[in-house]
């Protein structure tokens, strides 16, 4: 949030993907991708 504020875009909506992705099994990555897509749809619909 401090970085967003420093860039003057504190209201910018964020799509959050939990760290880490490296080392995750493919099914877990797919699950996160679906979650990210849902988040994105929600953000775009705001």
């Amino acid at each position: 949030m401090q970085q967003l504020s420093a860039r003057g875009v504190s209201g910018l909506p964020l799509l959050v993907i939990d760290h880490p992705l490296g080392g995750e099994r493919p099914e877990s990555v797919v699950r996160r991708a679906h979650q990210a897509a849902e988040q994105l749809a929600s953000l775009l619909g705001r």
Partner: protein, 346 residues
């Protein structure tokens, strides 16, 4: 040093109280500091304009004003004579090629190594001889520490928050050496008064007490440089290797007639691992290799770890002994050099 931080702070005039005050505000690295009083900051500036900014410092993009740099240089224990070196190093770190945002924020244990070139810095005590990586040399320790404090206090790279290094590194306290030009059989790596910043890991030791030939020493160097756990080679186009040769190793290599370019070429050709080994771990599957490397199928083939021999940087530093070091870079930052302007505004 948040945006709302007051310009002045009144603290009981004892070293303990000053340290407690700065630690509590997350304004220092945990070690005692020299209080940056107005008089000391002005002395550090030496007439330079305090409000002149070299640019925003990531990841929080606060302005690198000369005053902010001077405050941190005072805190680190710098003499005012060192300040032009600090300024030049910050200028170099802010070059886009250095990718300071990545260097600050990555999980990799990278720190900007400040290599100081030229006779004037050596006269000020920037040390390139025995034990140059430390401890014991005020100029090295305080210039390196000033750069770290600037990255923390101006850039906002606080461990675990915006500096996401998994384990950090002792090199993040202070990381500054001089090139030992007098001991280099090939002359200086960079001519004149200048600094080079290099986003590297802490030094990896190269111990070779046995070799009496260039081939022997350089084989040991190359072996040290190529490891599966290294960042170098995965993000290929930005990968570099810094080789800091001890003077004795350098002499042995030069004694066989090799120049600096030959050393670069040898290490480029030999600091490699078989494709089959690279497939075992590291960052296999995440590499951004060019198409010709991705097309390799022979598991015995040894693809290069850096794009060209020019990406093997060779410096001579240190004192007597049969040790050198290899410093892998973070693989998304390029070394950058800047002249040191001793007089007047930066």
């Amino acid at each position: 040093m948040g945006e709302a931080a007051p310009r002045t702070l009144e603290v009981e005039d004892t070293p303990e109280a000053v340290l407690e005050a700065f630690v509590a505000r997350e304004w220092c690295d945990g070690l005692p500091i020299v209080p940056p009083t107005e008089a000391r900051v002005q002395a550090m500036l030496g007439g330079r304009p305090g409000d002149l900014s070299l640019g925003p410092v990531p990841p929080l993009w606060r302005a690198a004003t000369l005053e902010a740099l001077a405050v941190n240089a005072v805190m680190a224990g710098c003499r005012p004579e060192y300040f032009p070196i600090v300024v030049a190093a910050v200028e170099a770190m802010l070059d886009p090629a250095f990718n300071l945002y990545g260097v600050q924020a990555t999980t990799h244990p990278v720190a900007p190594l400040c290599i100081v070139h030229g006779p004037r810095a050596r006269a000020l005590g920037v040390h390139g001889g025995s034990g140059c990586f430390g401890p014991g040399f005020r100029a090295n320790a305080t210039i390196g520490r000033a750069l770290r404090l600037i990255l923390m206090n101006v850039g906002g790279g606080w461990p675990g928050r915006h500096d996401m290094a998994t384990q950090g590194s002792p090199a993040k306290f202070a990381y500054c050496i001089a090139e030992n030009e007098d001991a280099s059989p090939w002359g200086p790596w960079r001519a004149g008064d200048a600094v080079t910043v290099y986003g590297g890991e802490a030094p990896h030791n190269v111990n070779d007490h046995a070799s009496t030939t260039a081939a022997g020493v350089l084989t040991t160097v190359a072996h040290t440089a190529a490891t599966l756990g290294s960042n170098v080679g995965w993000y290929f186009s930005q990968s570099q290797l810094l080789v800091v040769l001890g003077p004795e190793h350098a002499r042995t290599i030069a004694g066989d007639g090799l120049g600096r370019a030959d050393v670069q070429r040898f290490i480029y050709e030999h600091a490699r691992l078989p494709l089959g080994t690279l497939k075992l771990g590291g960052m296999w599957g995440m590499q951004d290799w060019p198409p010709w490397m991705m097309a390799i199928r022979d598991d015995e083939a040894r693809p290069p770890r850096v794009p060209s021999p020019d990406d093997v940087l060779v410096v001579v530093a240190g004192g007597p002994g049969k040790h050198s070091s290899v410093i892998p870079n973070t693989c998304f930052s390029r070394a950058v050099s800047r002249p040191v302007r001793w007089e007047g505004p930066a």
